[in-house]
C-alpha cells in the first residue's frame, strides 16, 4: 500500500469538511446529550409550548414545585408580577422559590419540551442506531462475502443466490414487513436495518476476494503454508479495506436515512424516546403552526447524510489519485 503524500492540504477539501461535520455531530450528540436538559422535561405545557426558535422565557419555580414560564417578571414589594401568556399574574414572594432565564434556541414542541435537547438526544439515538446497524451489516456482509469468494464452489452459489434473492425484495417493503413482524425496539431496529443492508457488503467483499485471490502475494502466502484463516485475516481483508470503508461511509448515510423513514412511519424508534425521524412525524401535524418541529430534525438528517457522502466522495478521490500515481 502506498502512503499518502504528507503535504498539508493534500486531502480533498470534501473529505476534510465531511469528516469535520461528522466528528462535530458525534461530539455534540454524545457530550451534548449529557449536558443538555432532559429531553422529556415538561416545564410549562401551557405557556412554554410551541415557542419559535430563539425564544427565551423566565422560569419561575414555586414552593410546591410547579414551574411557570413567563415572558417578563417584575417584583414590587412582597409580590411578583409575571407576564404569562399575554396576561399579568400576581404571586406572593413567599411562594416563589427560584427564578431563571432559559433560552430555547430551537423552540419548543407542543408539550413545551426543548427542541434542542430533543434534537441532541434524538441525534444520539439516530447515530447510534446507524452505527450499530452498519457494524452488524459489515460483520455479516464481510463474513458471507469472504466465505463466498474464498471457498467458492457450491458455498458460493448458495450464498450468492441468497443475496440475489434478498436483493430482489424491495427494500422498504422488506423493512416494513420486518418492522411489522418484530415489534419495534432499538435492538430489533438495528437488526432489521442491518438485515436489509448486508447484501451489498457481501457482494462487494466477494468481488474483492475474487480479484485478490489471483494475486501473487496470496499464492505466496499459501505456498509457505499459511492457513485459510490467516490468509483471509492478514492478506485479503487489509487489501479490501479501501473499497469497503468507502462503501461503509455511504452505507452509514443510507442507514440513517432508512432509520429516519421507518421512525417517521412509526415503525422505528418509538416515542417518547426521540429520534430525528419520529420528531418529524410528531411535528408534521403542526406543519403550518410550527414549521421548526418538522424541518429542524429533517435538516439534521440531511446534514449527516451530506457529510457522509462528502467523506465517501473524498475517499474515492484519494483512491483515484493513488491509482493514477501507480
Amino acid at each position: 500500500m502506498k502512503r499518502l503524500p504528507a503535504r498539508a492540504g493534500a486531502l480533498p477539501l470534501r473529505l476534510q469538511l465531511g469528516t469535520l461535520v461528522l466528528a462535530l455531530l458525534a461530539i455534540v450528540c454524545t457530550i451534548g446529550s449529557l449536558l443538555s436538559p432532559d429531553p422529556a422535561e415538561i416545564v410549562d405545557p401551557r405557556a412554554a409550548a410551541l415557542l419559535p426558535p430563539a425564544s427565551q422565557r423566565w422560569i419561575v419555580t414555586l414552593r410546591d414545585g410547579t414551574r411557570l414560564a413567563a415572558e417578563a417578571v417584575r417584583r414590587d414589594e412582597d409580590r411578583w408580577t409575571i407576564l404569562r401568556r399575554g396576561g399579568d399574574q400576581s404571586l406572593p414572594a413567599s411562594e416563589v422559590a427560584g427564578l431563571e432565564l432559559r433560552q430555547f434556541w430551537l423552540g419548543t414542541d407542543t408539550l413545551g419540551r426543548d427542541v434542542l435537547a430533543r434534537l441532541v438526544h434524538g441525534g444520539r439515538i439516530s447515530l447510534t442506531v446507524g452505527v450499530f446497524s452498519l457494524l452488524a451489516a459489515l460483520l455479516l456482509g464481510i463474513g458471507v462475502g469472504m466465505a463466498s469468494g474464498w471457498l467458492g464452489g457450491w458455498v458460493d452459489s448458495v450464498l450468492m443466490r441468497l443475496v440475489d434473492g434478498l436483493m430482489a425484495v424491495p427494500m422498504l417493503f422488506l423493512l416494513l414487513l420486518l418492522a411489522a413482524v418484530f415489534r419495534p425496539s432499538l435492538g430489533t431496529l438495528v437488526g432489521v436495518l442491518a438485515f436489509s443492508s448486508w447484501m451489498g457488503v457481501a457482494r462487494l467483499t466477494r468481488g474483492q476476494v475474487l480479484s485478490l485471490k489471483q494475486r501473487e502475494f496470496v499464492l505466496g502466502a499459501r505456498a509457505i503454508g499459511a492457513s485459510s484463516w490467516r490468509i483471509a485475516w492478514h492478506h485479503l481483508l487489509p487489501n479490501a479495506v479501501t473499497p469497503l470503508s468507502q462503501d461503509a461511509v455511504l452505507r452509514l448515510g443510507d442507514l440513517i436515512l432508512a432509520e429516519a423513514s421507518l421512525s417517521f412511519l412509526g415503525l422505528g424508534v418509538q416515542p417518547p424516546v426521540p429520534s430525528w425521524g419520529n420528531m418529524v412525524a410528531e411535528g408534521q401535524t403542526l406543519l403550518v403552526e410550527a414549521w421548526w418541529l418538522t424541518f429542524i430534525p429533517g435538516l439534521a438528517v440531511a446534514v449527516t447524510v451530506v457529510a457522509a457522502a462528502l467523506v465517501a466522495d473524498g475517499m474515492q478521490e484519494i483512491a483515484r489519485r493513488l491509482d493514477a500515481g501507480r
Partner: protein, 320 residues
C-alpha cells in the same frame, strides 16, 4: 438468445418462489397474530380460539404454506383481513394509482437528472458545476418525507396553489372526462415533484461521473475535430454512451413503479401500493403483505430482465 431468456425466466420464477417462501416463513414465525390486534381483555380465550380458526390460523404452518402457495400459483392471493376483499382486488385497485404517480415521478427524476448533469458538464469544475453538485448532493441527502413536507408547507399551505392530499377532490370524484383529468393532474403535481426532487440528485450525481468519463474519450475529441460544436459533441455523442449504465438504473427502479414511494404516498395520502402495504403492515394483514411482497418481487425480477434486454439492444457490444 431464446435459451438465455428461458433460463432467466426460470431463475426468476425460482427467485420469486424463494422470496415468497421466506416471507411466509418470516410472517408465520413471528410471535403474535391478528387476533392479538383485536386485543381486548374482555375477550374470552374461547372466542380468541374461534377467531384464530376463522382466520385459518389454527392449522399447522406447513398446511397453511401449501394451501397458500397452491392458491397463489393459480393467481388467488387470498382474502385481505383488513379490507375484507380479495387481496388481488385490493392490489389491482392500488397498482394503477402507484404506476401513475411513480411513473411520472421517475420520468421527472430521470429528465431532471440528465438536464442537471448536461448543464454541469457544459463547463466542468466551473462555478455552476460546483453549485449543482452541492444542490444534487443535498437533494440526495434530504429524507423524502422532508421533501414532501417542505412542498406541502410551501405550495399547499403557505401559498395554497396545490391540494395537499389524495388523488381527487370531492368535486372531482363525481366528475368525468376533462375536469376529472385536470383535477387529477392538479393533485399529482406535489407528490410527483417530491419524488422527482428526491431522486434527481442521485441520477445527476451518477450521470455526471459517467458523462465526465465519456467526455474525455477520443471519439468526443474526434467529433469536435470534425467541427461539431461543444454542445453537439456533448449531447449527441457523449450523452448516449453515458446513458447506457442508466438503463440498468432505470431497470432497477422498475419495481419502484409497483412498490411505489412508500413515504411519499403516506405523506400525500396517495391511495397506492405503498400506502396499502403500510396499512397492511400496521394491521398485520398477513395475506395482503404476502401478496404485495410477491407482486413487488415479480416486478423486481421482471425489471432486471428487461434492463438486461434493453442493454443488449442499446449496446451492440453486449451479446446474450
Amino acid at each position: 438468445m431464446l435459451r438465455w431468456l428461458l433460463r432467466r425466466i426460470g431463475a426468476g420464477l425460482v427467485m420469486v418462489w424463494l422470496v415468497a417462501t421466506a416471507t411466509f416463513a418470516l410472517v408465520s414465525a413471528a410471535p403474535g397474530d391478528i387476533t392479538q390486534r383485536l386485543n381486548d381483555v374482555r375477550t374470552p380465550p374461547a372466542a380468541r380460539e374461534r377467531w384464530r380458526r376463522d382466520f385459518g390460523l389454527d392449522r399447522p404452518w406447513g398446511v397453511r404454506y401449501i394451501s397458500w402457495l397452491g392458491d397463489a400459483v393459480t393467481g388467488d392471493l387470498g382474502y385481505s383481513w383488513l379490507h375484507h376483499r380479495k387481496v388481488a382486488g385490493v392490489l389491482a385497485q392500488a397498482i394503477p394509482n402507484t404506476i401513475l404517480l411513480a411513473g411520472l415521478g421517475l420520468l421527472l427524476e430521470i429528465a431532471g437528472g440528465i438536464t442537471l448533469a448536461v448543464v454541469q458538464l457544459r463547463r466542468p469544475h466551473g462555478k455552476g458545476d460546483r453549485a449543482i453538485t452541492l444542490l444534487s448532493l443535498t437533494a440526495y441527502a434530504l429524507p423524502p418525507f422532508v421533501v414532501g413536507l417542505g412542498l406541502l408547507y410551501l405550495l399547499a399551505f403557505r401559498f395554497p396553489l396545490f391540494p395537499p392530499s389524495h388523488m381527487l377532490s370531492v368535486a372531482g370524484e363525481t366528475q368525468h372526462g376533462l375536469p376529472r383529468l385536470l383535477d387529477l393532474l392538479h393533485h399529482l403535481v406535489l407528490p410527483v415533484v417530491a419524488i422527482g426532487i428526491a431522486g434527481m440528485g442521485g441520477v445527476a450525481r451518477y450521470l455526471r461521473g459517467s458523462l465526465l468519463d465519456e467526455k474525455g474519450q477520443q471519439y468526443v475529441l474526434a467529433a469536435r475535430a470534425r467541427g461539431a460544436s461543444e454542445r453537439r459533441a456533448l449531447i449527441s455523442h457523449a450523452l448516449p454512451n453515458a446513458l447506457l449504465p442508466l438503463i440498468t438504473m432505470v431497470g432497477m427502479s422498475l419495481p419502484f413503479l409497483v412498490s411505489g414511494s412508500l413515504v411519499i404516498e403516506v405523506v400525500f395520502s396517495w391511495p397506492g401500493m405503498g400506502q396499502t402495504m403500510y396499512d397492511a403492515a400496521l394491521a398485520r394483514d398477513v395475506p395482503l403483505l404476502l401478496g404485495g411482497t410477491v407482486l413487488a418481487t415479480i416486478a423486481v425480477v421482471a425489471g432486471n430482465l428487461l434492463a438486461d434486454l434493453a442493454y443488449a439492444i442499446a449496446d451492440p457490444r453486449v451479446r446474450l
